[in-house]
């Protein structure tokens, strides 16, 4: 029983360590990031900007693309997908704490109108 558990733990650790993407996979992710960035920048130009009928649709689109890009960089380039969960938890604890603290701050200063 103990032996089985050890094997299972080892296999899981190897899964964390040995499945780094290939160079081509990194290039594919970079292409996706470039395309999303181009889409973000496109919203700046008036012809595209007027497509968004309300400001909230524009903001939602921009924030969705921003979060997607950030998630992709952290997960693939920073290897959070393969690394031990404790690293992901440590990092996202900081991200969530910062987000919560500063949203409250911005609300207190009535930044969102």
């Amino acid at each position: 029983m103990s032996e089985t558990t050890e094997v299972a733990v080892e296999t899981r650790d190897e899964a964390h360590d040995d499945h780094h993407p290939s160079d081509w996979e990194y290039v594919k992710v970079a292409i996706i990031l470039a395309v999303v960035t181009a889409a973000e920048v496109a919203t700046y130009f008036e012809s595209v900007f007027t497509f968004f009928e309300t400001r909230w649709i524009l903001l939602t689109s921009l924030f969705t693309m921003m979060i997607f890009k950030g998630w992709l960089v952290a997960r693939v380039f920073m290897h959070l997908k393969q690394d031990k969960p404790v690293l992901q938890q440590s990092f996202f604890a900081g991200v969530l704490l910062a987000t919560a603290v500063y949203i409250v701050t911005l609300l207190a200063f009535n930044v969102f109108g």
Partner: protein, 207 residues
Amino acid sequence: MATATAPATDTHHDAHDPHATNTGISNNKLAMWLFLSTECLLFGALISTYLIYKTRGNGEVLPTDLFDIPFTSVSSFVLLMSSLTMVLALSAFGRNDLDRGKAWLLVTAMLGAVFMGGQAYEFTAFYEEGLGYTTNPAASAFYTLTGFHGAHVSIGIIMLMSLWVAANQGKLTGKNSETVEIVGLYWHFVDLVWIFIFTVIYLIPPE
């Protein structure tokens, strides 16, 4: 019997291995992740400060009046691509392909330098348009935020060049590629922060 002996031997071995940790992650790597976690609070504070002050121009020009989005988009693209070259450097060191690893490190540092050149150009252009550091609260918040990010990029370039020199001296090989990974984590984080700054500060149009 053999099963019982093996873990005991491993434990004994780990006790003498200076790199062994309870988490199975090296202390340096864990420390970098914790540092990056705290950096979220620093940049969160700087971004929030800018959002609070961005319309307080005291009748003077505002940063939003001067933004050159096509130019900043090119800078953002350059920094984004430097994340790709950084991860390719790490991948090369992992394969013990030192020549390619050194080349990618150098390309990453150069892309970072191009980004910094763009920021220097932007700051100079803004200053010539009458937007100094103390012109108004919006300007101070803008320069502090982007200046802090620029300082992080500059430190990253110094770390990349140090790695490049160490690799050329034979002190950095595939065996200690974790050093490249740790510097890479810092570099990707700097890119990550710029992704947020670019959208929140530059792309969201003023009401």
